[in-house]
């Protein structure tokens, strides 16, 4: 008996004092969150994508019907197109802008740190509802932008009433939140060894040549990273369209994520919305894969092959 007890205690002590146990205990909050909020919902949504689940009644298995429906849904096809346009315009603009500002801020002058923090502020408050609401006010019929247009002698623009215009405020809002890309670019720019620049200067290279032959290649791994991250987040854009345009007019800003939300929580078509999410995952993986594949051609690695 005694022996048994001691054995048990020893066993427990062994488990408690094991390094791995401590690690798992500290990681538990993350593991629980990751399982509960990420992995399980993802797997459940895969199951639901093959059913007609609608929140209120129990689901039945309908196979690939949801996926087949997607290709006949003109609203869905339009939302894919709209999202692609958004990604293809907002991401490059944002990166160019971020790189430009980061480049300016590498100059050694007083107050650089202050300006860098200042430019980062929009990204800190970026995704919030409040900013989106302010953006909506700015571009409204009687908003600041239109007042500026009028005082500059231009015509008033109905930003949210014109199908071709409605996307512009959304893209501009995304570009305005260039801060996080900028910080990463700035860090990358600092890493480039000054000896390259000195050598180039001695050889008589001008500023543009230095930028395109030294700065860009040396920065290319950072550009790749920013490109991938920003592309993914642009595909998932929701807040801007949800708050500023509600997808209108005539679905001109009906982003993919917004349409998924509407199908799920407005029309209660959970099965269909789940299928849509999975298609989005496939599209996004494919594009990320293509970017990585292409990176071999344009990303320069100092370490060489």
């Amino acid at each position: 008996m005694m022996n048994d007890n001691i054995k048990k205690k020893m066993c427990l002590n062994k488990i408690l004092h094991n390094d791995n146990t401590v690690g798992y205990v500290f990681a538990a909050p993350f593991i629980i969150g990751f399982l509960g909020f990420t992995i399980i919902p993802i797997l459940v949504s895969l199951y639901y994508s093959f059913t007609n689940y609608n929140l209120t009644t129990s689901e039945t298995w309908i196979g690939l019907q949801n996926y087949a429906r997607l290709f006949q849904d003109t609203r869905f096809l339009k939302s894919v197109r709209v999202t692609l346009i958004y990604v293809l315009t907002s991401v490059p603009l944002k990166l160019i802008f971020a790189l430009f500002i980061a480049y300016l801020l590498t100059k050694k002058s007083r107050g650089v740190t202050f300006y860098r923090s200042l430019y980062y502020v929009p990204s800190l408050i970026g995704g919030s509802i409040a900013v989106a609401l302010v953006w909506k006010e700015l571009f409204s019929t009687r908003g600041l932008i239109n007042s500026l247009f009028i005082s500059a002698g231009l015509e008033k623009v109905s930003w949210f009433g014109d199908q071709k215009m409605a996307m512009i405020p959304l893209v501009l809002m995304s570009v305005w939140q260039f801060g996080s890309s900028m910080i990463i670019f700035a860090a990358g720019l600092k890493e480039i060894s000054p000896t390259y620049y000195e050598a180039a200067k001695i050889d008589g290279a001008n500023k543009r040549q230095i930028f395109s032959h030294i700065t860009l290649p040396c920065l290319s791994p950072i550009i790749l990273y920013n490109l991938v991250m920003q592309t993914i987040s642009a595909f998932m854009s929701f807040t801007q369209a949800f708050v500023i345009t509600r997808g209108g007019p005539n679905d001109a800003t009906n982003f993919y994520a917004l349409y998924v939300y509407n199908q799920a929580f407005k029309y209660y078509d959970m099965g269909y919305a789940s299928a849509m999410s999975w298609v989005m995952l496939i599209i996004m993986s494919l594009i990320t894969f293509l970017i990585f594949k292409s990176s071999k051609r344009w990303v320069f690695s100092e370490a060489g092959e």
């Binding site: 509960g36 129990s58 019929t141 014109d162 509600r246 005539n250 407005k266």
Partner: protein, 441 residues
């Protein structure tokens, strides 16, 4: 079963995070945290807790909370936990509760109640057992909340749709004021003329789906409805009945007499409507919004009926329940819930606080008390509802089947496509008919 519970949990957890991010539940969660201390101070073990929820405006929240406090003061053993939301947030929350079988004991439902039939304990059972008193009302009011011969709930108030207008702007533009049986043609001409003379919008936004589709079809013939009364199919078979409304909306927007989709989108709430700001001479309202809009405008506002298709044809208007309080099947104390509903509908003091904000009360004694104290705008509302009550109607279906939201969104999308010249009114009419029909297959 296990999987289902788990999903319900995850969904609600996700929703909570989602909603906080979206901010739509800010008010509700704020109110909850404010209320929490006062509810725990008088903690006692033998208290019965009732959970209740509703949607609406700030005025409604304030009044309802006051009535709840009155009831708690009179019934010390009852503790009511309440939540309130905006309309969309309410139904998102309700759906997750339905999935997890934890619907509030007392909950508010509007015309879309058939979706939630499985969750409702008909209040009729408690009328039979004498807990709920309906002696001061009559069948025509009770029928607004009766479904398949069961009295599901008691209407919090009845209302009907109308057009609020500014008589001053009408006379400035030289347009005669609307009559009881004015037509859409009259409406269109009034809009065009007001725009031409005064440079403002003739009309602010209409409820397109009700005006053009559900009411529009009922205006064709006494026997017709957009959704058949059985709510499992369409109640008409000629798509071209929908054509004129599309054409009218297109013409008005092109002329500048009606706000374009962007301008419509800028209207945040009834207090910010173009009629209130003086940028339009008319707007669409439910009669219970009349006092709010008149107070916000601060000038004389009158109520006209919704225009008809033919001056001597059906009006398409009917008195309907704006919403009702229901008892949920998940409630463990349905009898206590019924007692509260009885208080909410029948108590004169409580209704003085509620003051007809949810619509004209169905109990005649309550109606008389409120009418006696009513201001101009409220009087206009009461007389308007009685006027609609005198119109000849067929069996108008004001109940929304589950697929209505989708159909309504498609309808609004098609209106925009017609405005932007992507579709003709004929194509749009045919398309929405086919779309809606397919949803019932």
């Amino acid at each position: 079963m296990k999987l289902k519970k788990l999903t319900a949990f995850i969904l609600s957890a996700l929703l909570i995070t989602g909603l906080t991010a979206c901010g739509s539940s800010d008010k509700a969660s704020g109110a909850n945290s404010e209320e929490a201390p006062s509810q725990t101070t008088e903690a006692s073990a033998d208290k019965t807790t009732l959970r209740m929820a509703w949607w609406g405006s700030q005025a409604r929240h304030d009044a309802t909370v006051k009535v709840i406090e009155m009831y708690e003061a009179q019934n010390p053993t009852i503790d009511i936990e309440y939540e309130f939301y905006d309309f969309d947030g309410y139904f998102t929350k309700l759906n997750t509760l339905v999935a997890s079988n934890t619907v509030w004991d007392i909950f508010q439902l509007g015309g879309n109640f058939p979706t939630y039939m499985d969750k409702i304990v008909p209040v009729g059972e408690y009328v039979d057992s004498g807990i709920v008193d309906v002696s001061n009302t009559n069948d025509s009011f009770l029928s607004t909340t009766t479904w398949e011969d069961k009295l599901l709930g008691l209407s919090n108030g009845v209302n009907c749709y109308g057009i609020a207008y500014d008589p001053q702007l009408f006379s400035e533009a030289g347009v005669p004021e609307p009559t009881e049986n004015w037509t859409w043609e009259d409406y269109k001409n009034a809009c065009l003329q007001i725009h031409e003379k005064l440079g403002i919008y003739g009309s602010s936004k209409l409820d397109d789906f009700i005006g053009g589709a559900s009411m529009g079809i009922s205006q064709e013939d006494y026997a017709l409805n957009f959704f058949a009364s059985s709510n499992d199919k369409l109640g008409f078979d000629d798509p071209m009945m929908l054509k004129d409304y599309f054409a009218m909306r297109q013409e008005l927007v092109k002329a500048g007499a009606y706000p374009d989709p962007g301008a419509i989108f800028e209207i945040k709430d009834i207090e910010g409507d173009y009629l209130v700001t003086g940028d339009a001479a008319m707007t669409w309202v439910a009669s219970n919004q009349m006092p709010t809009i008149a107070a916000a405008a601060g000038r004389e506002i009158k109520l006209a009926t919704v225009p008809r298709k033919k001056a001597d044809g059906p009006s398409g208007s009917t008195i309907q329940s704006s919403q009702m309080l229901c008892i949920s099947k998940d409630s463990k104390v349905p009898e206590e819930a019924a007692k509260f509903i009885n208080f909410f509908i029948n108590d004169p003091e409580a209704n003085k606080v509620l003051n007809g904000e949810r619509g004209v009360p169905i109990m005649s004694n309550i109606r008389e008390t409120l009418e006696a104290e009513a201001d101009e705008a409220k009087k206009e509302m009461y007389s308007f509802v009685s006027l609609i009550g005198t119109f000849k109607t067929g069996e108008i279906n004001v109940i929304s089947p589950a697929r209505k939201t989708e159909i309504e969104d498609q309808y609004k999308l098609l209106i925009e496509q017609v405005i932007y010249d992507e579709k003709t009114p004929e194509q749009a009419a045919q398309e929405i008919y086919d779309f809606a029909k397919k949803k019932f297959e």
